[in-house]
C-alpha cells in the first residue's frame, strides 16, 4: 500500500500538471509542480480533517453564538487560499527559487547546513523521532517569530489582521496578511538553511500539527485539563492570546502547538477563561472587510506604524 498523498499527487502530475506544463513550454517547472501537487493534497486533507472534527465541536459547545457569521466566510477563503490554492503555488515557487539562490550562495562560501543526524549519528534511520525533534525546534522558532510579531510596531501592524477577528473559529488560523505570511516563510526558510529541516517526509505528522493549530482557534469550550494544557495548546489557552485585553505588543500565550515555551519564558497565562476576541484598536475593515479590504487595511496600518511613535493597542 503506497502513500495515498504521493500517489494522488503523482496522478495529478501525470494527468493534469505535466501535460499542461508541456503544452505551455514550462517543463522546467516539472519538479516544482510535483511539490505543489503534494502541498495542495496535504492542504485538502488538512481542511477536511479540521472541518470534520472542529465543526461538530463548535456546534456542540460554542463559546459564542453569532446572529450573523458573515465575517467567518472571509476566514474560509483565507484557509482555502493558504492551504490549497494560489498561495501554496506562489510561495512554493518563490520559496523554491529563493532557496536555490540563497543555498547556492552559501555553498560557494563553503557552508553545508548541519543536520540533527549529523550532530547525533544515533538518530540516523530514526526518521519519525527526527521529525518530532525538528517539529519541536520549529515550534520553538515559531514562538519567537510570533513574539517578535507582537513586539515590533510595524510587524504588529501586519499581524493585527490575524487578531482583528471577533468571530474566531477554526478557520481563523490562516487569517494573515500576505506580508506577514511572507515573513514567516523567510523566517522558516532561514532556519531550514541553518539546521537542515527534512522535507515533507511525514505528511501525516504535518497534518496533525496543522490540525492542532486550527483546533486551537476553534470557537469551542474545550480545555485539555490541567496537565493536558501544559503539554499541548488547547482552544481555551490560545483564546486567551486572541482576547481583546491581550491584543497588541504585550500579549500572552504565543505558542502554536506546545505551551512549553510560554511556560519557560513566563508568557503563559492559564487563568483566563473563554474571553472575547478581537483588536479594538484596529480599523473595522480589518475585522469585517473583504479579503482585499483587509489586506489594504493591513497595509495602511503598516504605513501608519512608521509615521507614528506608537500604534494604539488594545484597551
Amino acid at each position: 500500500m503506497g502513500d495515498p498523498f504521493d500517489l494522488g499527487a503523482g496522478w495529478l502530475e501525470e494527468h493534469v500538471l505535466v501535460p499542461a506544463l508541456y503544452w505551455l513550454g514550462l517543463m522546467n517547472w516539472e519538479d516544482v509542480s510535483y511539490g505543489w501537487a503534494l502541498f495542495a493534497l496535504y492542504g485538502v486533507a488538512q481542511v477536511l480533517l479540521t472541518f470534520t472534527v472542529c465543526l461538530p465541536l463548535e456546534r456542540w459547545r460554542p463559546v459564542e453564538r453569532w446572529p450573523d457569521s458573515h465575517a467567518v466566510w472571509v476566514d474560509v477563503l483565507y484557509t482555502l487560499l493558504s492551504r490549497i490554492g494560489v498561495l501554496p503555488f506562489v510561495t512554493y515557487v518563490l520559496f523554491y527559487r529563493a532557496q536555490v539562490a540563497v543555498s547556492g550562495w552559501m555553498a560557494d562560501q563553503g557552508w553545508v547546513p548541519p543536520t540533527l543526524e549529523g550532530l547525533f549519528p544515533a538518530l540516523l534511520g530514526q526518521q519519525v523521532l527526527v521529525f518530532i525533534l525538528y517539529a519541536i525546534i520549529l515550534d520553538f522558532a515559531d514562538y519567537w517569530r510570533h513574539w517578535l510579531a507582537h513586539r515590533f510596531r510595524w510587524w504588529w501592524a501586519l499581524h493585527s489582521l490575524h487578531h482583528a477577528q471577533r468571530q474566531m473559529t477554526f478557520w481563523s488560523d490562516d487569517r494573515n496578511h500576505i506580508l506577514d505570511d511572507l515573513i514567516a516563510f523567510v523566517w522558516f526558510g532561514v532556519i531550514a538553511l541553518l539546521i537542515g529541516v527534512p522535507p515533507l517526509q511525514f505528511p501525516l505528522l504535518v497534518l496533525v500539527l496543522r490540525f492542532l493549530e486550527s483546533l486551537s482557534h476553534a470557537n469551542v469550550r474545550l480545555s485539555f485539563g490541567w496537565l493536558g494544557e501544559r503539554l499541548l495548546i488547547s482552544p481555551r489557552f490560545h483564546r486567551a492570546h486572541h482576547g481583546v485585553l491581550a491584543a497588541g505588543q504585550r500579549s500572552c500565550n504565543y505558542g502554536a502547538v506546545l505551551p512549553w515555551w510560554d511556560m519557560l519564558f513566563r508568557t503563559a497565562d492559564f487563568s483566563r477563561e473563554y474571553v472575547r476576541t478581537g483588536d479594538p484598536s484596529g480599523e473595522e475593515a480589518l475585522a469585517t472587510g473583504t479579503w482585499v479590504q483587509q489586506q489594504m487595511a493591513g497595509l495602511r496600518r503598516l504605513v501608519r506604524s512608521f509615521g507614528r511613535r506608537r500604534v494604539r493597542h488594545g484597551t
Binding site: L7, W11, Y22, Y34, D108
Partner: protein
Amino acid sequence: MRRLCLALLCVVAISGFAASARAGGIAFVVNSNGASISVIDMATKKEVRRIPSLREPHHLILSPDGKSLLVGDTAGNQIMFIDPNTGEVQKRLPVADPYQLQFSPDAKFLVVNGLARNQVDVYDAASMKLLKRFPVVATPSHLAYSPDSSTVFVSLQDSDRLAAFDLRMMTEKWTVPVGKTPAGVLWLNGRVLVADMGTDYVAVVDPADGKVVDRIVTGKGVHQLFLSPDRKVLWVNNRAGGTTVSVDPATLKVIRSYAIPGGPDDIDFAPGGKLWITRRWAESVAVLDPVTGTFETIAVGRSPHGLYLNAHAPSPVVVSSR
C-alpha cells in the same frame, strides 16, 4: 528429545543459510521523496529492506573498483557509500548538493552536478578532493563523458543549454542552446545525445562545438537515455508521453514504443534482457519485457529515481541499517 530439537534447529538453520546464499541479485532503488534506498531481491522481485538516507537522494553510480555504490543525497549534502553486494552503508561523505554524479571512463574524475546550486564539481576520484568548481548559468542536470575522458558534457536544464568542460585544462569549452529543458545526456558514436524534456525529440549534438546536427522524435517530454549493455539498443524515456522507446543506435531510427505510465525515469538492465524502469509518480519500478511489451511492477518508496542492478550479488540480503 533435546537432541531432536537441536537437530531440527540445525536443519532449519542450514536451510535458512542455503536460502540466503542463493544467487539472485540485488536491485537498489533510490526513493527521492522517501529519503531512502529500497533493496530488492531480484529473484523474488520483493523489497527486502530500506536503507535510510538523510534528505533527498536522487542518482547513484558504481565506483570504478566495483566496491562501492555512491548515492548522491542533494538536500542532505552528502554522498552515501554502500556495499553493492550487501547493502551495508560503508561511509557518508559531506558533498555539496550531489544530484547527478558519474565517474569518468578513465576512472580519474568524479563529476558531481549541483542542480540546486548551479555548480559542476570535478573531484579526484581516488581522493575525493575537489579539483574544480564550474559555476554555471542554471540547474546542471545530467552528464556524459567523451570516451577519452577529456570532456564532460552537462545539460543545464533551466537555460536550455548544454555545457562542455575540458577536464585536462579544467576550462569551459562551450555552452550553447540545444533545445528546451535538456535533461539526459549520452555519448554515442562520436555524437552527444541530449534528451530535451520540453520537446518530443532527442537532440544530436556535435561535441566539437555543441551544434545540433539532427533531431530524433521519440515522444513528449524526452527525459533520459540509456544504451543497452550489448550496445545494440538505445532506450529513451519520455516523461510526459509515458513511454519507453527503443532506438537503433546505428541509424537513430525508432524501433518500438512501450507504454510505461507513471513518469518513466531511470533504467537498468537485468540479465535476460528485461529493463527495470523507475516510475517517479507511481512509487514503483516497472520490469519491462521488451519482447512481449508487457511489464510487471515492484512497489518501492516515494518518487523512485535512480536504480542499480547487481545481478551477481547473493539474495536475499541481511544487512545492518547503517
